[in-house]
Amino acid sequence: MSMIECNGLTKYYGRVRALNNVNLKIEKGQIVGLLGPNGSGKTTMIKLANGLLKPNGGEILIDGSKPGVKTKSVVAYLPDREFLPDYMSVEAIFKMYEDFFADFRRQKAEDMLSSLNIDPAMTLKKMSKGTKDKIQLILTMSREAKVYFLDEPIAGVDPAARDYILKTIISNYSEDAVVIISTHLIADVESILDDVVFIKDGEIVLHENADQIREEKGKSINGLFREVFRC
């Protein structure tokens, strides 16, 4: 059974079709890139996987189940926006994650926090955007989840932080889990991907192993992307 499975997945926003009959299977033990321009349907697919949207047609399954309480306890989602209550301190948020997620590894989170020199007693309100982003990343990566959805994890991030994020993703790798990285910044991320999925106007146009693409097409993923998505 695939870890993530889309069967005929379709989603409309009013009259606009965001996803069109998507069929996709992703096995565990992979870091997969969900690559496409803005508005191609990446975030829609991720929201559907998290139960934040309901499909208009078809289905999406996480470890064999439709999105619900069961899948939410094994899926870790890092959205591309701030989602934490501003007035809480880092400590308080760690406690909250501990309370709700059985797979949250508090010690790991605290280790990452101290390696980044962030004070756990500080409230989010007082932090810079970059630091808040790091907190959100720490929360997500400290969960021992079966599926990780990282939506634009390195957009708007300085190069040093970017390296830290990519290294964290690699070090977190598990044979039993899947990491989906959704981004349009391909060059920075492609070396850590197993497979890549190109999505265009709500349809999957490519799903292949990254090294295989490099071997067969003699291009980087970034190069192929620019070709496929030429305006």
Binding site: Y173, S191, R214, G218
Partner: protein
């Protein structure tokens, strides 16, 4: 270690290349213990499966071996080490010939140029 990957070539084969170079040049000494796959992957900024694939190939070539409880090590087999130096060396020679042929030198002229260069360096 500084890893620089070229575009358009599979990463796993570039890792193999680089490891061979490191072994041949002695940066990795015979019997050296390698870090875990995950650590090597993180250091190189690559996918762990890719790193694993490269290491498996190196193991197949006899340059690296795994001791089940202790980890991965660079081989101490003289034969294998010599082999990798030879293979790498021959490839660099081939590259030299290829490049110089491209600018119009004949094979004899190439050997002459090499000797000239060797004299000049003294």
């Amino acid at each position: 270690m500084e890893w620089n990957f070229k575009e358009g070539l599979p990463i796993y084969s570039q890792i193999i290349e680089e490891m061979c170079r490191q072994i041949a040049s002695g940066a990795y000494k015979p019997g050296d213990k390698l870090p875990s796959v995950r650590d090597m992957a993180a250091d190189a900024g690559v996918n762990p499966n890719t790193m694993q694939r490269a290491l498996a190939e190196l193991e197949r070539r006899g340059l690296v071996f795994t001791e089940r409880t202790s980890g991965r090590f660079i081989t101490k087999e003289e034969g294998n080490l010599k082999e990798v130096k030879k293979t790498l060396g021959m490839r660099y020679v081939a590259e030299l010939f290829e490049n110089l042929r491209k600018i119009g030198l004949s094979d004899d002229e190439i050997i002459k140029a090499v000797n000239e260069w060797k004299e000049g360096v003294k």
